[in-house]
């Protein structure tokens, strides 16, 4: 059960996050009397950004990007989703702080 949770949690969190970003851009556009981008726009953006070449100022610069994403994924594992919380018994919410 926990293993399934650990494997499923990051993709689920990713999907929810992406969905909410798309939805909020859409709602914002409607508030401003625009049509707005499609809900899948963030996914398109991600694919586009990964295809572009980027620049780096050194190892620490690259590590910063990797660690911030890795940190977010680990934080997701500690957040309770309803009653399920994969590795909550390893430290609880205080780890996130």
């Amino acid at each position: 059960m926990n293993i399934i949770g650990i494997i499923l949690f990051p993709p689920v969190a990713f999907a929810i996050g992406i969905f909410f970003i798309g939805l909020s851009r859409r709602i914002m556009a409607r508030v401003q009397w625009r049509y707005g981008p499609p809900i899948a726009q963030p996914i398109i953006d991600i694919i586009k950004l990964f295809n572009q070449s980027s620049i780096s100022h050194g190892i620490i610069f690259g590590l910063g990007v990797i660690l911030s994403l890795a940190g977010s994924i680990v934080v997701v594992l500690f957040l309770p989703l309803g009653k399920i919380c994969p590795i909550s018994n390893s430290g609880g919410l205080l780890v996130i702080q």
Binding site: Q52, S53, I55, S56, G58, I66, L67, S90, G91
Partner: protein
């Protein structure tokens, strides 16, 4: 091997080092490292043993004892390890300076004094070793002369005030019970009255609070830490001020006893609760003063006061989790603050004494090992998971939340946020950003400086991933105080409502980093460009130095600096001024004319005759 022999080795080693220094400097260096290594080995051999009352001397009809228990073993091993690392670090740091024999002598003497403190089994020998430590510390703080002399003077005056408070406490204990042996005092005080225990606690609070830099008594620390030679700043911050912590533990939990201590007063007005609040204030204010410092060592010094607040908060709160957190934080702070002072010291050594954060930058390429050491030290300081600082802070937060003290927990959390502010400033201003031209051909730190940093970094990481090793010893200390045992495993702890498993966190972070790294590898590879090659949306990118963390916290500083005036220090300075005026006023009566003195004598005799005629009391 007995305890006397250990102390004899420690003290005679210091003297022999001084004498050897007169013959050959090389021999002296080797001997100093050897003697401090030998102390580590001897103390490690004492692991798990407890020695009760080794009698060694009699003084004014008072027997002097040495004894060893788990608490003193834990402190002793930390002292010895930090001692040997600081000696190794000193080898190249102090080489080109003058009075090096004296320096090594004092370093070893401070270590020996601290070992004596934790091993002494009665308050008289405790006091003697305490004074040896205090005075040799004074000599080391003022080693650099100049402003260091004033810093040392400030330290020794406050230290003497603390010692006098301890002396009064000891005399009062002796007058009441006729003994100063710690184990006998523990029996006697269990039936002492409320007022008497409070009196004792306040006296010892002055003594140990002075050394531990608890808030009203902290003013000596920033000056002393920033002016002392860097290896000694590491000792000072890592273990010397923790002698105050040891004293607190000794008085509160061994002499006065857990039951008496926790029942002193009621609810919010109990002594341990007030001490916790003092600890919480000691966390917040110094942390935010540290944010606005520009001198690297001064910043670390203020941060030391803040971290000492966590230790006080932990040991004063008085549950088994908080005691474990407090003692473990003592150990962790010794590891990462020594590491940070050494990293700053290495930078100071290579740049010939530059400590101003705003004039450094970009040293990562020149001193990579020092950077990694500083980075790990900063992570420990903040309490990032996988460093030992995380475990001890987790214990403290957890116990505060479980114990229903949201404000104290909030203070601890705010302290951590402030820590992130100043740690970022420290690491970025020294190592990241742009390298100034004058440091173009800086060499990396010598090996004798890198070695202690590598050892301490691995300690920080190792005990962050398997904190069970020290926690097991700390748990034994807690049990000897009369607390309930904690459920300690190799990789964490199980409390009533939450468990900590650092190995799981370690695995999660490792796997997540690898996955992310693979994702980024799958994307297009980044092109490495020079630091000033930036996209500025068509605007001109300035070519000159643009180090954006210089004066980074100026807006914050404008907001908070009016609230952060050091009222206590101003008060002490005024007090010193008043005393000086009073004394120079008194001095006026010494005019130097014999006639004046004759008049004084005549006036005094006249007064005596007047008193006799009026009231006839003799």
């Amino acid at each position: 091997m007995s305890l006397q022999l250990l102390l004899i080795i420690a003290f005679s080693g210091a003297f022999i080092t001084y004498i050897l220094g007169k013959l050959s400097h090389r021999l002296r260096d080797i001997f100093a490292v050897f003697i401090s290594c030998a102390l580590v080995v001897i103390i490690a051999l004492f692991y798990g043993k407890s020695v009760e009352k080794t009698f060694y001397l009699e003084f004014l009809d008072l027997p002097l004892f040495l004894r060893l228990n788990t608490l003193s073993w834990f402190f002793a091993i930390t002292i010895a390890v930090v001692g040997v690392l600081s000696i190794i670090f000193s080898l190249s740091y102090i080489k080109k300076k003058e009075r090096t024999d004296f320096y090594y002598f004092m370093m070893l003497l401070v270590n020996a004094g601290m070992l004596g403190i934790v091993l002494s089994g009665d308050l008289v020998s405790f006091y003697i070793f305490w004074e040896i430590m205090s005075w040799s510390t004074f000599l080391l703080i003022s080693y650099n002369r100049g402003p260091a002399l004033a810093a040392g003077m400030k330290y020794i005056i406050m230290s003497v005030v603390g010692s006098v408070a301890m002396l009064i406490g000891m005399l009062s204990l002796y007058a009441s019970y006729g003994t100063l042996t710690i184990s006998e005092l523990a029996v006697h005080t269990s039936s002492a009255s409320f007022g008497y225990i409070l009196f004792l606690l306040i006296l010892f609070f002055v003594t140990f609070g002075m050394k531990n830099a608890v808030l009203p008594f902290h003013t000596w620390l920033p000056d002393a830490h920033s002016e002392a030679p860097s290896p000694f700043s590491a000792v000072l911050s890592g273990i010397l001020i923790k002698m105050g912590t040891y004293g607190f533990l000794l008085v509160m939990y061994i002499i006065i006893g857990l039951k008496n201590f926790l029942t002193l007063g009621q609810g919010l007005l109990s002594f341990h609760h007030i001490l916790s609040i003092v600890g919480a204030i000691t966390i917040i204010i110094p942390t935010f003063i540290a944010v606005i410092q520009d001198d690297a060592k001064r910043l670390l010094a203020w941060s030391t006061i803040g971290q000492a607040g966590y230790i006080i908060l932990g040991i004063a709160y008085g549950t088994n989790l908080s005691i474990a957190g407090g003692i473990f934080h003592f150990f962790n702070h010794a590891a990462f603050k020594t590491l940070l002072f050494m990293a700053v010291g290495a930078v100071e050594y290579r740049t010939r004494g530059v400590r101003d954060l705003n004039s450094l930058g970009g040293l990562i390429k020149k001193m990579p090992i020092t950077f990694i050491g500083a980075l790990i030290g900063v992570f420990g300081l903040i309490g990032v998971p996988l460093t030992n600082g995380f475990v001890s802070k987790w214990l403290i937060y957890k116990t505060l939340i479980l114990g229903g003290s949201p404000f104290l927990a909030f203070a601890a959390l705010i302290g951590t946020w402030g820590t992130i502010f100043y740690s970022y400033k420290l690491i970025h201003n020294i190592f990241l950003g742009q390298l100034p031209d004058k440091y173009k051909d800086l060499k990396k730190a010598p090996f004798s400086m890198q070695l202690p940093m590598i050892i301490l970094s691995s300690v920080v990481l190792l005990f962050g991933i398997i904190p069970g090793v020290p926690l097991k010893i700390i748990n034994a200390i807690g049990i000897s105080f009369g607390f309930k045992s904690l459920d300690v495993t190799l990789w964490g702890i199980a409390s009533e409502t939450g468990t900590l498993n650092t190995v799981n966190i370690f695995a999660a972070i490792t796997v997540a980093s690898i996955i992310v790294w693979l994702i980024f590898r799958a994307g297009r590879k980044a092109v490495s460009v020079a630091q000033d090659d930036n996209y500025a949306a068509g605007a001109y990118v300035p070519r000159d130095k643009y180090h954006y963390t210089v004066n980074f916290y100026n807006p914050l500083q404008r907001i908070i600096s009016p609230f952060l005036r050091d009222f206590v220090d101003e008060f002490y300075t005024k007090l010193a001024g008043w005393t000086r005026n009073l004394c120079s006023g008194v001095r006026r009566i010494y005019t130097g004319y014999v006639g004046d003195y004759v008049i004084y004598i005549m006036l005094f005799l006249a007064l005596l005759i007047f008193i006799q005629l009026k009231w006839s009391i003799w």
